[in-house]
Symmetry: C2
Subunit: 348 residues, 2 copies
DNA sequence: GTGAAAGCGCTAACAA
DNA sequence: TTGTTAGCGCTTTCAC
């Protein structure tokens, strides 16, 4: 049975109100009184019950972070970014994964959230417009990461541009058969992000006058193993691609593994570009489209804190920059594919 | 202003007690009544306030997870493992980082924890014996990951053996100058783990009759970049090692990067072995000592739930197995170093 | 099967 | 500067 505020009050010979004030550093407490209270609390090992304090004061000193998955590098980095700024404000982080439709529905409805968090960061979870509206209608301050939102502040990168940048890079190197490894459209997680990157890929191809080949778009499950499987399928084709755009560095690693196993020269026989700029990408010398992952989390947290402080702000929309990191896994195709002057011209 | 239990009671024409019972699926509620309550709650969008519910019932439905860092692969995987089992029980996860002495002290004292969590998992945080005792003395159920604990259940791998296994592997291949990349001893995080791996390394060397060379033990900060720096320093020596044992795969990646940059053949000129079996290690073909990272988290969570259920159990101590994954980055040294028959003999 | 009422342990007005 | 007291919104006896 832990000591309660009443125990401290008794021991210090003051009222509970004074204890409360003294312990929280509020003004209007005589120094000598405060000292006595502090001492009593210390010897009793008193810690205020967060539920009781929160119930009485109306807040929780906690922000929720909802992610579809915890394991992948991207989410762990975003989480770290959030945690850093949230902790600096002496708030806690409640972590929750929502990876199915039911979870999304509950999240939007604010179920389980009341009395648990003062604010919410939703990372890469494909809420419907109706759900976003529902979330915004909740009194709960919330910010969305990785998706546009009407009534909610959001922080994101331009993923269409990400797809375009990566694809253009390969096109400029002279590739015309460029594969895309991404996420299955009907995936239960249903990220919004892959779809946008795919659009950028299509736009860049169209710009170069190249008709997209549906056979070159495969699912890589955003994992190393998935990327390897996808690359295997692609390279087994009679008309394999000369370059692969993987929507994450982790999938790109899988591609590189397969390339090495097959004795393919990179980038001679196969160029590979990823997205993220994963910790280990420099070590692989992987060309990639870098996004400020940690900063995404930090920015989202700062935005949320601002909303929590201000009560209500005009929904901000923060776009963070991405940039091409041209490293060693992309280069011109060694054997020129069938001449395609049209494609070449379009590049200028 | 969200609907309260009273609002639901009014709308359903029953008392708050009945609403509480009906919503929580307790017995002794007439089916028709329950239905009416459910409907009222649904139309009002009622969600019970977690603080109030917790305050009245005495629990929080939350478990805390304390880690020194969030970003590194190891911690994200452990966290994922914990989250999976905790979520299955419909509990939430409160994430906290403690990365300094003050934080450790607060953690042990249970500060900030009362009324926030029903149980705590402490991952790779170097508590003193006194602090562990303090933590155990708290009424709060807790389990420790990555360190021994007297009075607390713990789950760990045998990190001495990890060091020994990796080192022996290199010795058996014929290496005699084996470097160790780990963590600086005076690091503020002060993991217990690196020290144990280092001991295993020393034991294996001793077993082979090889005197450890302090110059071959360097800090790699458990990051890719740190591993690269460490490898650079090692390879710049006049008497470079022929093999490197990195205490994490991420540091090993850094080593491989440096080796490649310098045109060193792996494993011909340099063997590299890591620890973890990181997601991308198979892609690198990295030899490593694998540990069941996800399982570590899951096991810890299960242990914690058991303690929370049982009230008190005999402090379990669960050791999870590790195993050598002999892949492509380790092999015999190409140029035999100075003959060392003694070392060779000792290997049998 | 249902309701009334007493807390759970705090914070915040309001008094003094 | 300090104390008294009324909640915060729920759960949980204990009656009925």
């Amino acid at each position: 049975m832990p000591a309660s505020i009443g125990d401290v009050a008794d021991r210090a010979g003051v009222s509970v109100a004074t204890v409360s004030r003294a312990l929280r550093g509020l003004p209007n407490v005589a120094p000598s009184t405060r000292e006595r209270v502090l001492e009593a609390a210390a010897t009793l090992g008193y810690v205020a019950d967060a539920r009781a304090a929160g119930l009485a004061s109306g807040h929780t000193r906690t922000v929720g972070v909802a992610v579809p998955l915890i394991g992948p590098w991207f989410f762990s980095q975003v989480l770290a970014g959030v945690e850093a700024v949230v902790t600096a404000r002496d708030l806690d982080v409640l972590l929750m994964t929502v990876d199915d439709a039911a979870g999304r529905e509950r999240l939007a409805a604010g179920a389980r959230l009341r009395g648990r968090v003062d604010g919410l960061i939703v990372v890469d979870i494909a809420l419907t417009e109706a759900q976003k509206a529902e979330l915004a209608a909740n009194d709960l301050p919330a910010v969305v990461v990785g998706a546009e939102a009407e009534a909610l502040p959001c922080v994101l990168v331009d993923n269409v541009e990400v797809g375009r940048t990566a694809t253009s890079h390969l096109l400029e190197l002279g590739h015309t058969r460029i594969a895309l490894i991404g996420h299955a459209r009907e995936d239960p997680l249903h990220f919004p992000v892959p779809e946008e990157r795919r659009r950028g890929y299509h736009e860049a191809l169209a710009c170069a006058g190249i008709a997209p080949d549906p056979a070159l778009e495969v699912d890589g499950n955003f994992s190393v193993a998935g990327g390897a499987e996808a690359a295997t399928a692609l390279l087994d084709r009679v008309d394999p691609p000369t370059a692969i755009l993987a929507m994450s560095d982790e999938m790109a690693f899988g591609c590189l593994r397969v390339a090495r196993q097959r004795g393919l020269a990179v980038p001679g026989d196969l160029s590979v570009i990823g997205v993220d700029d994963h910790d280990v990408s420099p070590a692989w010398d992987l060309t990639t489209v870098s996004q400020p992952v940690h900063r995404v989390g930090g920015q989202a947290a700062e935005l949320l804190l601002a909303v929590m402080d201000a009560g209500a702000t005009s929904p901000a929309r923060i776009a963070l920059p991405t940039s091409l990191r041209h490293r060693g896994t992309t280069g011109p195709p060694m054997v020129p594919t069938e001449p395609s002057p049209l494609g070449q011209d379009a590049l200028r």
